[in-house]
Symmetry: C2
Subunit: 324 residues, 2 copies
Amino acid sequence: MQDKLPAFSDIEAAAVRLRGEAVETPLLESAGLNALTGGRVLVKAECLQRTGSFKFRGAWNLISQLEGAGGVVAYSSGNHAQGVAAAARLKGLPALIVMPADTPDIKQANTRALGAEIVTYDRATQSREEIAGQIARERGWVIVPPYEHPHIIAGQGTAGLEMCRQAAARGIRLDAVVVGASGGGLTAGIALAVEALSPETAVYCAEPEGFDDYRRSLESGRRESNPSAAGSICDALLSPTPGELTFAINRPRLAGGLVASEAQAGRAMRAAFDHLKIVAEPGGAVALATMLSGAIETKDRTIAVVVSGGNVDAGLFCRLTAAG
Amino acid sequence: MQDKLPAFSDIEAAAVRLRGEAVETPLLESAGLNALTGGRVLVKAECLQRTGSFKFRGAWNLISQLEGAGGVVAYSSGNHAQGVAAAARLKGLPALIVMPADTPDIKQANTRALGAEIVTYDRATQSREEIAGQIARERGWVIVPPYEHPHIIAGQGTAGLEMCRQAAARGIRLDAVVVGASGGGLTAGIALAVEALSPETAVYCAEPEGFDDYRRSLESGRRESNPSAAGSICDALLSPTPGELTFAINRPRLAGGLVASEAQAGRAMRAAFDHLKIVAEPGGAVALATMLSGAIETKDRTIAVVVSGGNVDAGLFCRLTAAG
């Protein structure tokens, strides 16, 4: 089951499951962003999704289909943790999240506030996958992986389904779509939706400088790794290497990978504040950053980008946007 | 025409005119805000509307119906100016905005960026209504008033229509709705929509401390005035007295008026940032502030509030939310 690639019909089925539970996030546009790019920029505001990122979509698509499970286990220090905790609570199941011991208190507190139990581990010496696997076996609970599962990918793909339908309803033809990539689940789901609904649209992934494993993997044709596992403010986009399933989907479908620096991500957070009135976290702003930095040609083109999350502390937000 | 009260059918007609032009803003909810209030809080995020506030709705509803007009004139230093400028450009008409000479450069620049011409006046010695009236007569252009017009009120009411339908689609019964009031056009439009679609729901207006003319007018039964015309960070909510038309609609329909302090508005801006990932300007956060401050009973009740705008400088935003 885990190894089966999802199809577009799985995304359509996920959209039915998510109806009334997930936010149909708006596809925003502003005269200011259009003027800055010389083109037309449409922003799928997934920071407005339940729990502040797109992660609830995949988590609910998987967890809502569980039958007879006693609980769920996930490993994540950030957005996936909150998405899983919220989805489990909605399903009436207990959730346990394996988090690094150095996870900021605020993220631990947010996850606990959603009813989840937290187990911490030492990043330097322990494997989160092993810890999660052991707990799942002991308790007979189900692991909800962050991207390597067809239900997760199909759930994230509903953001792309909505985006294509929202654009079509306004008579808009998309030249390209840009999506921030970490493990690549959101990108894969959106690539499947775009292939079905808007096949002439090019799909790009976007990554922070120094963490462009997906871009390099698309170029070399095999799954490349990042030299380091930490060290960027874009904490949502630091997976070490593309997922196997997600790469199988993305490799033949993506037009390429784009890169933005931390400073460019900060300026994109400020642009999202000024022109769209949304809160983007650093990793959530990377796709928009590629539009504003010239990493992709924008002149006279219509491009949709996903702002994938908004879970950022107010202090960091203000420091980064002041520099923008 | 200007003196005729709008009916619910006018709001339905406005919604058809706005389709595809205005954003259908989401009705957001978060576990965090619900926990803070002990009830259920739904936020109609009009800061995500085109031009960053609900004002585009009324402006487009009026301007899209103009036939044979050579242009439009409005007086406003803020959100109405941008709404009118954007609607006029969409209609292909020139727009002139009368603004106080001390309007911040950024707001003048934003309005000019939307294609409008700006004429400034001295707040202390000149009347903006007279200046606008004279220009309109000279040029044969049409004045777009900020709230005293049935088309404006009906346009703003589409926010209420959407809110009621979004709640109903999720099976949610609203105990109350809270809307920030300045001239009272948004409140009046929403009161008409709620009366038609959710008649058991109580509607309240919300104002900044010291500028509670609407609250006092509802109590006394006649249009009261504020002692001062300026001096609050809630710059969107400083109209000196209720509109005649809007008061005729609101007086028999509102359950009362609520008040929030500047500090409470700042804390509500921070709560909107933390829990909803939206940018609220001070005046736009006043309705939410009444929920968080205990001005209205929230325990075990379901209440929708409108966050009416997000046009705030990053510097001010960070100062106000840091205090929250």
